[in-house]
Assembly symmetry: C2
Homo-oligomer: 395 residues x 2
């Protein structure tokens, strides 16, 4: 423990049991009822299809959430970066799949050390990475499970031919410190396709591509392998694919505007459990007010945040978050949808100076990566503060 | 000091004196020669016009950089958030202007406490904020200097009429714990206007608007006031305006792609001192390679990063950073500019698996806010590691 200095300034109002509206802004909030609903929803979906859930921790970067997901039936979590895996392992997570490639011998050495402490698997798509990991695990006296990443339409990492996949399987077999465990087959591009039917069809095409690689391994006598992939936008199709043994969805636990705006059917529709609180800090004009949350509190790579208009939100009808500056969000009157609206409705009242609002971030993953903790609430009161241990763990 | 745990994993290769290319990626790098060049450039520009420089610390969030700027002649720094001011004050910065409004009585109380420890000024554009600060300073036995923010074209915060400005000046005068010190007049919108001549004209228009407010104060007998504003894109016009007494430029110290692409004249042209290092971690296709730096290491609110092609960068001609995913950057072959090029040049070689590159982030402020430290280098070697104390200080 460091001594508190005369410059320590904890977030005003942040105390367990306080009304959530008393917490100063901006703060990243989790509605625990909705979060638990989302966890139960995904757990029940995968269980009903006999597949495993390995939620992606890149979407929350929080050991407490990882442990909650595991308590709800998940077999472990995914991490996207080695530093992220170290941060979560240090906070007690014991089963991690690194769903990404390493291209640095020193990172391979660290992965081998981590594999001596927790159950660790790593993706590969290049023979040199296999050799680095094999050497590192031999040196550390550990064993690393490897999954070959295959490209099923994402056009990012991963091998795209059966021959390239088999060459890597052969390379892995040359290293007694490595075990070939199966395939990673992830298609990020289809996750945000708006129309449910189109998403279904693309997910089926991707699953068919994955099945093509699996068939080639089965011809070699390799069976009972892990096939890991899938995401929040395709989970209901992935569980039914007959190909995936393990689903990597991450955003479902907290959700964001981007996922919330997809067309969903009732089979799977996670709730917005994550909000960013903000305060109206300037009311300079009748058609423009300014809040204290901008690009340092949320990211706009997937578009602007939405104003929450649910049980967590005050009435802010008729206004939109229109511009994100570094530390400011400019709210403007939303355009009227019809002349009838314009002539029959009184203009919506402007949000009051000093009043709070709740924003639904456009994209959960990079937004979470800006914050050090979640302020978790239930029944209108602060119930817990969860550190975001893997925030900023970028390597 | 906490005991190192078995899960501690420092960034591989990060040791003072090591070759900078040995530091694992992604890492946020400062070229110290270029950084010092930028500091000297701005210091000399303001000195030659007899105005003060109060660099904006929101652009670097680092006490060491703030101290370097002050050592180079700056009168203090600006912060945009109270938590940011606390973080820098805690690291030894003693003169801070909070260039933003507060709309929370508890924040006013904290500001009053901070004003008892360091020289602090705060912006206001609402009478209730003045009252909160007046009450808080009276309670803390401190004195807070206030600047009224006036809108000179930014259309964000700030009063837009002389009457509203004077009403706030009158309100401030009612509080013995407050002092009216002058105006903040900032126009962010003109900072990134590409053409030098157009930027000049807009800066002159903005300065004329600021002068209009100043004249009304002078009519009241209020003279010798601070007029603070300006930015990296307009600094050379602001220093010569005859209106601004203090310039708030921030990005000039490190720079970014957005500012670098403006049309500059030789009078003021800061250098790219900031880079994000990255590693080619996957080479799946002849026209596509993938690096390990995406939206968790840089932001794209002002566009994609550029590949550095200077003394800090390896030869990566003919390739662009084309897509930013959460943890990946996809590089593609840049389009040829002419048929002549296409027919006469051999295709540029693809970057090698495991090789490093240097990216110039699109927008310095939110990118810096993702990182915990700068890795500072000179002559190809790590010279220092500077913590980014105010990272994530969003309230």
């Amino acid at each position: 423990m460091t001594e508190p200095s005369r410059f320590d300034a904890p977030l005003p109002g942040l105390r367990i049991g306080n009304p959530i509206d008393d917490v100063a802004t901006p703060a990243l909030l989790i509605d625990l009822d909705l979060f638990e609903h989302n966890l139960a929803l995904a757990a029940s979906l995968v269980a009903s299809h006999g597949v495993s859930l390995r939620p992606h921790a890149k979407a929350h970067k929080c050991a407490t959430i990882a442990q909650r997901q595991i308590a709800a039936g998940a077999v472990g979590v995914c991490c996207q970066k080695l530093a992220e895996a170290f941060a979560l392992a240090g906070a007690g997570v014991t089963d991690i799949h690194l769903s990404n490639e390493l291209a640095d011998a020193r990172k391979a050495t660290l992965a081998a050390q981590l594999a001596a402490q927790v159950k660790l698997s790593v993706c590969v798509d290049h023979a040199e990475s296999v050799r680095q990991l094999g050497l590192a695990a031999a040196g550390a006296g550990s064993r690393i499970d490897l999954l070959v990443e295959v490209d099923i339409g994402q056009n990012r990492c991963g091998v795209s031919t059966v021959e390239a996949m088999l060459a890597l399987v052969d390379e892995i077999a040359r290293h007694p410190s490595l075990s070939f465990r199966g395939l990673q087959a992830y298609h990020g591009g289809l996750q945000h396709v708006h129309a449910w039917q189109q998403r279904l069809e693309l997910a089926q095409q991707s699953a068919a591509r994955a099945a093509h690689f699996v068939a080639a391994l089965e011809q070699r006598g390799l069976r009972g392998l892990t096939v890991t992939g899938g995401g929040t936008g395709s989970i209901e199709f992935d569980v039914a694919s007959g190909v995936f043994t393990e689903i990597q969805a991450g955003s479902y636990a907290l959700m964001d505007r981007q996922y919330g705006e997809l067309e969903w059917r009732d089979s799977f529709r996670p709730a917005h459990a994550l909000h960013l609180s903000a305060t109206i800090m300037s009311t300079p004009a009748a058609d423009r007010v300014v809040c204290d949350a901008g690009l340092k509190s949320l990211t706009v790579d997937a578009g602007l945040p939405a104003l929450a208009r649910d049980r967590n939100a005050p009435a802010l009808h008729g206004w939109d978050y229109a511009v994100a500056n570094d530390e400011h969000g400019i709210l403007r009157r939303a355009p009227r949808h019809s002349a009838r609206e314009a002539s029959h409705e009184a203009p919506h009242e402007a949000p009051a100076w000093g009043s709070q609002l709740r924003l639904i971030p456009g994209h959960v993953d990079p937004t979470v990566n800006l914050h050090d903790a979640y302020v978790c609430h239930r029944g209108g009161r602060v119930e817990a503060v969860w550190p975001i241990e893997a925030r900023g763990m970028a390597w």
